[in-house]
Amino acid sequence: MAGQSDPHISLFSAEEVEFMAEDELIEIVPNMRMDPLNFICGDFGPFLPQIATQVPMWLAVALKKRGKCAIRPPLWMSVENLTKVLEGERDSQGAFQALPFHYVEISRLLFDHARDDIPDMYMVRSLIEDIRDVRVHKVETSLEKFSGTSAVKIPNLSAMEVNIIRPFVGRALQAFYKHDNPEKIPDVDRASSGQTRVANNEPRRPLRR
C-alpha cells in the first residue's frame, strides 16, 4: 500500500490511514470473561466467552494478539461477495463498487493478525488484492481524463485510494483554477457561483463513515 503513493506528497502516510481505520468497529468472539471497558470512544463489553460483541479494531487486534478472542471477519469479506465485487469492478469502467471506506486497512489488519479466523484466507486475500489493483488502475485512468473542472466526484472511493490521489487532485484543481482564472476574469462571478453550486450539491465526504 505504501508503494502506491509517495509518502512525501501524501497528506497522510499509509500507516496513519491504517491508524485511523483502527477505530472501525468489528465483531469479536471473546474466550474470556471480562467486565465492560469504558473508553473515551465509548463503552465496550461486557465480554462473555463465546458471545459475540463489537469492539474497535485496535482492541480486537490487541485481544487477538493475547489469544483472548477470535475475530469474526466482516460480512463483506466473504469469497462470494468479493467475487461479486470484483466482477462488478471489472464490468463497470467508471463506477466503483460499494465497499467499506477502510476496506484496504481492515483487510490488511485481519490478514496480519487473524489469519486463522478467515475462511479461505488465500482466496480472500488474492481477491482483495485484485479488487484493489483494479480500482487503483481505474482511478489512475480516470485521472488521465481529468480536465478543466472545478470539482471531482468519485463515489465509493476508499480512504486509501483517496489518500493516494488527494495531493495530485488537489494540486491539479488548483492549477486548473489558476490557469483558467485570468482568462475568465469577466466570468468570475458566474464561474464561482457555478462552483459553489456544485460544492453545495456534493457535500464534502466525511473522512469516516
Binding site: 468472539v29 474466550n31 474470556m32 470473561r33 462473555l48 466467552p49 463465546q50 458471545i51 459475540a52 489469544g67 483472548k68 477470535a70 469474526r72 475462511p119
Partner: protein
C-alpha cells in the same frame, strides 16, 4: 419361482468396459430405442422383427448417455458425452436441432408430460429446463453438489425431482424454480463410475417418488411432504441401479448391481419374480401395451422379457390411473395445464403434421396412459378415476402446507433422535447433538464449555473445551474405548456414560475430576443388565438414571450413596449445585401426541425433594432442552420453541418466558444452551439444520426473554413485558432473601439487587401509567398507581395526571396516596425504629416531591447528604430497611437492636436537622410549580384532620411536623417508645 432364461441380443458393441446403456419404448410399442454411452449411435429397433437391422442415428460425436421420448412419441431427444443435447423427429429419426449444449457430459434427460419442456442435466452444475418449442432455456436449477444422474417430472406437472451421484435428492417446484426439499444422502453414492447412474421415478399417479435406498432397497417418498413412506426391501444384495414403474403403478422392476432384476408388487411390498443375468442391467422399460419388459445390460445387449407379471395377477397395463377421458372435458380438470397444452400444440410443429394432430387430440395426460386398445367399459371408470384423482389433488394441496409444517417439526426432531412424534420420546442429554459419521458431535454443550467426540474404527476421541480459556482448567483430550454417548460437564469434572452394546460391552459410568489432590481419582461404575440412560452432575455429586428406572447418586469421590426408584422411564436429567432435576414419563402419549412428563427436583445434600409435578409442554411437542438458569431456576425448552421457567409462585408453576415462533426470523432454529434472568443464550441454526456443528465453533446469540403476551389495546407490550419480568425477578429475589435470612446469612447484596429492581419496576410502571393516561385507560392507571412502591412515584403520577388535565384521576391518585400514608402511620405505631426511618425517607420524599419519577435514583441522595454529616448513613439505611422488609417482628440479639435503635435515632436527628432547610427548598419551589399546589394543600389539610382524630396517628406528614412542631414531635415519639417491645428489652 421358476427361473426363465432371457436371451439378449447385441445392440451396441462399444468397448469391453461396462458402460451405461439406455432403452425406451415408444408410445405404441412399435419401436424400441437403445443407446450406449460407449458408442455415438442411437438404434431404433423393431421389436416384432428383431433380426432386422435397426435404424441407426449417428449425430453425436461421443457416447450417448441419455435418451428421452416426448410423451406423444413425436420427438426423440438424446444427450451425450460430447456435451450436446439433440432433438430428432420420431419415428423417422431426422435430426432436428442441437437444442442445448453443456460444458460437461450430459447424464439425464426428461420430458415433462406435455412435452413442452425438456430437462437436461449432467456433470455440469445446474439442471437446465428447456422450452422445446424454441430451445430457450426457461430456468437453470442449481443446488446439486455432484453430477446429476436422474431427473423425473412429476406426472401432475408441479414438481421436478432430481438425484445426483452422491445420493442427494432434490424436489423442485416448477412454477417458481425453488427447492422444496433436499434429501441428503438418501441414495447410494455411486462414486466416479459413470456406468452406474442413480435414478429416481415418480409413480404413474404421481403420489410417490421411488429412490434407490442405502440398504439395497427402494425407498418411497411422499409427493408433497417428501416424507419416507415405505421401502421395498428384498433379495437384492447390492445397491439398486435402475427401477421402472409398470404403466399402472402396481408393479415395479428393479435392477441391482448384483445382476438381478426383481419384479415387485408395490401394494404388497413383495417381490413376485426375478431374473438373473450375466451382466448388470442398467436400463429397463415396461412395454406400454401388454405384459413385457425391455432390458439392456451394461455390455449393450438388449432383450424383451415377455409375460413378466404372472398371468394370475393383474396385467401391468391394466387399470392405468387416468386423468384422461375420451371426451374433451378432461381439460377442465387441468386448468392450470392449459398453457402448457397450447405449448404442446405448438411444439407439435417439430413433428410432422399427422403426428401433430394426433398429439393435439391427446389430452394432457401421462405418457403411459396412451393405450391404443381401449376397453369399452373403460370410459365410465376413467371418468370416475378422474374425479377421484382431481379431488384428491385438491385435497393434497390443502394439506400441503400442514404437512410442510409437520415435516419441519420432524426435522427438529432429529435433535432428540426421535423420528416419529406419537411415540414416547427417548432419553437425551441436554446440549447434545446426534452423532454424524466422520464428524465431531457434541456430547454436552453448556454455558461453561463443551465435550465433543468423534468416532474412529475402534475407539472415539473425546475433547473437553471450556469457553473461557483463561480461567477454565485445561483438560487433555482422551481416547475412549467405551463409546460414550452421554456426558455432562461442570467446573469440577465431567461424567460420561455409554449404553450397553451386547453382552461384552456393558454400560459404564465414568467420572473424571479436572483437578484433584490425589492421583488417579477418576472412577468407573459398571452396570450389569442395566443401562445408563441419562447422567447429571452437581456440586459434589454424580447422578445416573438407568433403564431399570433407578436413580443412582454417587459422591464425586465415587461412593455409592443413594439408589432411588423412579416412577417411569427417564427423559433427561440436569444438575445445579445441590439440586438435581429429573424428567420422567408418567404414561404413554395422549392420542393428541402430547408427551406426559413429570419432573422432580431433589436436594442432594439435604436429602429432600422440594418440588415435583407435571412438566408442561406445548401440545404436540417434545422436550429438547432441560436445565437450570444461571441463578438456579429450573427451565425447559420444547420442540415448538417455548421456553418455560419454574417458579414457586402459585405453589410451583412453569411460566412461558420465550417463544421461538414470536422471535423466529424465517429459516432459523434456536438451539438453547442456557439462560439467565433476562436473556436466553442459544445458537442460531439456519434451516434445515436444527443443531449446530462442532466446527466452525458455534457462537452464542443472546435473545431477550419475553412473555407470550396477548396484544393489548394499550399497545405497550414491551412495557407490560418488562413489568411482568420485573415482578418475577422481584418475587424470585424475595424468595431467596427469605431462604438466606432463615439460614442467618447476610442478605445485603440481594437487598441491593431487590432495591434496584424495585426502582426499575417503578420506572416501568410510571411509563405504563403515562401510556394508560394517554390511551384513556383510567381504571388501569389507578391499578398501576397502587402498585408503585415509593410514594414519590405516586406523587409523580398525581403530577402527571394533573398535567394531562385529568382531575378525576389525580383525585383518585391522591386518595391512594392518603390510604398509603395512613397505613404507614399504623405501621409506625407498631414499631419505632422503622417508623423513624420511614419518616426520614418521607421527609426526603416530600422535599424532592417536585422531581419526576424518572429521576428516582436521586431520591435517597438528600437523605445521604443530610445524614452523612453525622454518620456514614447509606449503608445503614439500606440495612435497616432490608431488615424491616425481611422479618420485622423477628427477635434479634440485643446488641443488634440497640445498635439499630441508636443508629436510627441518629438518622432521625439528622433528618430533623436537615428538615427546615429542605422545607425552605420546597417552598421556594412551590410557586414555580402550579400543579403541585393543589394536591399539597389538600394533603396538609387532611393531615391536620388526621392529626386531630388521634394523636398517635399524628406525625403522618413528617415534613409538616418537622417544620412546625419539632419539639412536639419528639415528645410524641417519646410517648410512643414504651409501646415498642424491642425498646423494653434493650432498656433492661
Amino acid at each position: 419361482m421358476k427361473i426363465k432364461s432371457l436371451k439378449l441380443r447385441e445392440a451396441h458393441k462399444g468397448s469391453a468396459n461396462a458402460s451405461f446403456c439406455s432403452i425406451l419404448w415408444d408410445l405404441n410399442a412399435h419401436h424400441l430405442v437403445t443407446a450406449s454411452s460407449s458408442e455415438p449411435s442411437i438404434s431404433i429397433h423393431d421389436p416384432l422383427l428383431p433380426s432386422n437391422p435397426p435404424r441407426v442415428l449417428r449425430h453425436h460425436r461421443d457416447g450417448v448417455t441419455a435418451l428421452a421420448l416426448s410423451p406423444n412419441s413425436t420427438c426423440l431427444s438424446s444427450g451425450s458425452i460430447d456435451h450436446s443435447v439433440k432433438l430428432y423427429k420420431f419415428p423417422g429419426g431426422e435430426f432436428e436441432t442441437n437444442i442445448t449444449r453443456f460444458t460437461l457430459p450430459i447424464r439425464a434427460l426428461a420430458f415433462n408430460k406435455s412435452g413442452s419442456m425438456l430437462a437436461a442435466a449432467g456433470d455440469d452444475e445446474g439442471i437446465k429446463l428447456i422450452n422445446t418449442i424454441d430451445g430457450s432455456i426457461a430456468r437453470v436449477l442449481k443446488g446439486h453438489r455432484g453430477p446429476v444422474t436422474g431427473l423425473a417430472f412429476d406426472p401432475n406437472g408441479e414438481y421436478l425431482a432430481s438425484i445426483d451421484s452422491i445420493g442427494t435428492v432434490i424436489y423442485w417446484e416448477l412454477q417458481s424454480g425453488r427447492t422444496l426439499y433436499t434429501l441428503k444422502g438418501v441414495a447410494p453414492d455411486t462414486g466416479s463410475d459413470t456406468s452406474i447412474l442413480n435414478v429416481l421415478s415418480w409413480s404413474p399417479d404421481g403420489e410417490t417418488l421411488a429412490v434407490p435406498g442405502l440398504k439395497n432397497d427402494i425407498v418411497m417418498y411422499d409427493r408433497d411432504t417428501a416424507e419416507k413412506l415405505f421401502t421395498l426391501r428384498g433379495d437384492h444384495t447390492q445397491p439398486i441401479c435402475f427401477m421402472s414403474w409398470s404403466p399402472n403403478g402396481k408393479y415395479m422392476a428393479t435392477s441391482s448391481l448384483d445382476k438381478q432384476i426383481l419384479i415387485w408388487d408395490v401394494n404388497r411390498k413383495q417381490d413376485i419374480d426375478r431374473q438373473k443375468f450375466d451382466n448388470r442391467i442398467c436400463c429397463m422399460a415396461w412395454k406400454p401395451i401388454g405384459n413385457a419388459l425391455a432390458v439392456i445390460d451394461v455390455m449393450g445387449k438388449y432383450g424383451v422379457w415377455e409375460s413378466v407379471v404372472p398371468s394370475s395377477m393383474k396385467s401391468p397395463t391394466e387399470d392405468i390411473p387416468s386423468s384422461r377421458s375420451k371426451n374433451s372435458n378432461g381439460l377442465l380438470f387441468f386448468d392450470e395445464e392449459d398453457e402448457e397444452d397450447q405449448e404442446l400444440s405448438m411444439s407439435g410443429s417439430l413433428s410432422d403434421l399427422g403426428e401433430d394432430s394426433h398429439g393435439e387430440s391427446e389430452p394432457p395426460s401421462r405418457k403411459r396412459l396412451r393405450k391404443q386398445s381401449v376397453i369399452d367399459d373403460d370410459q365410465h371408470e376413467d371418468v370416475y378415476n378422474e374425479l377421484n384423482l382431481c379431488t384428491k389433488t385438491e385435497y393434497r394441496k390443502k394439506v400441503h402446507r400442514i404437512n410442510k409444517e409437520s415435516s419441519d417439526k420432524e426435522r427438529d426432531g432429529s435433535r432428540s433422535m426421535m423420528t416419529f412424534r406419537p411415540k414416547m420420546q427417548e432419553a437425551f442429554q441436554p446440549g447434545s447433538t446426534p452423532p454424524q459419521p466422520g464428524k465431531r458431535n457434541f456430547l454436552c454443550y453448556n454455558m461453561l464449555g463443551s465435550i465433543t467426540t468423534i468416532k474412529h474404527d475402534e475407539y472415539s476421541h473425546i475433547e473437553i473445551d471450556f469457553h473461557d480459556t483463561s480461567t477454565g482448567p485445561r483438560v487433555p483430550p482422551m481416547t475412549d474405548y467405551y463409546g460414550f454417548t452421554m456426558a455432562s460437564l461442570n467446573e469440577n469434572g465431567s461424567v460420561f456414560a455409554n449404553p450397553c452394546k451386547g453382552e461384552k460391552n456393558m454400560s459404564t459410568l465414568m467420572y473424571r475430576p479436572f483437578s484433584s489432590w490425589a492421583n488417579n481419582s477418576e472412577w468407573y461404575m459398571r452396570f450389569e443388565g442395566e443401562e445408563v440412560k441419562a447422567v447429571a452432575l452437581g456440586g459434589t455429586w454424580v447422578a445416573a438414571v438407568t433403564s431399570l428406572n433407578f436413580l443412582r447418586i454417587y459422591t464425586d469421590g465415587g461412593l455409592q450413596k443413594h439408589i432411588l426408584s423412579l416412577n417411569g422411564p427417564v427423559v433427561t436429567a440436569a444438575g445445579f449445585k445441590d439440586e438435581l432435576a429429573i424428567v420422567t414419563h408418567i404414561s404413554d402419549c395422549l392420542p393428541s401426541n402430547e408427551q406426559m412428563l413429570e419432573f422432580r427436583i431433589f436436594n442432594i445434600s439435604k436429602g429432600t425433594q422440594p418440588f415435583k409435578g407435571h412438566l408442561p409442554l406445548t401440545p404436540g411437542s417434545y422436550l429438547t432442552w432441560f436445565g437450570f438458569t444461571e441463578e438456579g431456576q429450573l427451565s425447559s425448552y420444547d420442540s415448538k420453541g417455548v421456553l418455560r421457567v419454574f417458579t414457586s409462585q402459585y405453589g410451583g408453576n412453569w411460566l412461558p418466558l420465550f417463544s421461538a415462533s414470536k422471535e423466529r426470523k424465517s429459516g432459523e432454529n434456536y438451539w438453547v444452551v442456557g439462560l439467565n434472568a433476562s436473556k436466553l443464550f442459544c445458537i442460531v441454526c439456519k434451516n434445515p439444520d436444527s443443531f449446530p456443528q462442532v466446527l466452525p465453533k458455534p457462537v452464542l446469540t443472546l435473545l431477550n426473554l419475553s412473555f407470550p403476551l396477548a396484544s393489548s389495546d394499550l399497545g405497550e407490550e414491551a412495557l407490560e413485558n418488562e413489568f411482568m419480568l420485573n415482578n418475577l425477578h422481584l418475587s424470585q429475589i424475595q424468595k431467596r432473601i427469605e431462604v438466606m435470612a432463615d439460614e442467618g446469612l447476610d442478605t445485603t447484596p440481594l437487598d441491593d439487587e431487590a432495591f434496584d429492581i424495585e426502582a426499575a419496576q417503578d420506572r416501568c410502571i410510571f411509563r405504563l401509567i403515562a401510556s394508560c393516561c394517554n390511551g384513556d385507560k383510567l381504571v388501569r392507571a389507578t391499578e398501576l398507581v397502587k402498585l408503585l412502591s415509593v410514594e414519590k412515584s405516586v406523587r409523580g403520577a398525581i403530577q402527571l395526571a394533573t398535567a394531562l388535565k385529568l382531575p378525576i384521576l389525580a383525585e383518585r391518585f391522591n386518595n391512594i396516596l392518603e390510604e398509603r400514608l395512613q397505613s404507614k402511620t399504623e405501621v409506625l405505631k407498631t414499631s419505632l425504629p422503622r417508623s423513624k426511618h420511614d419518616r426520614n425517607v418521607k421527609a426526603d420524599v416530600a422535599a424532592s416531591m417536585a422531581l419526576t419519577a424518572t429521576e428516582r435514583s436521586e431520591i435517597l441522595e438528600p437523605t445521604f447528604s443530610s445524614s452523612s454529616a453525622k454518620l456514614s448513613a447509606p449503608l445503614l439505611i439500606k440495612k435497616v430497611k432490608s431488615s424491616d422488609r425481611v422479618k420485622f417482628g423477628k427477635p434479634k440479639t440485643d446488641g443488634d437492636q440497640t445498635a439499630c435503635l441508636e443508629d436510627s435515632r441518629e438518622v432521625n436527628d439528622a433528618g430533623k436537622n436537615a428538615g427546615p432547610s429542605q422545607v425552605k427548598n420546597l417552598q421556594t419551589q412551590r410557586p414555580s410549580n402550579p400543579f403541585l399546589k393543589l394536591p399539597n394543600n389538600q394533603e396538609e389539610k387532611k393531615v391536620e384532620e388526621v392529626m386531630s382524630e388521634s394523636q398517635s396517628q399524628g406525625p403522618s406528614n413528617p415534613f409538616f411536623k418537622s417544620s412546625n412542631k419539632v419539639g412536639e414531635a419528639t415528645g410524641i415519639q417519646q410517648s410512643h417508645r414504651p409501646s415498642n417491645p424491642f425498646l423494653k428489652s434493650t432498656a433492661k
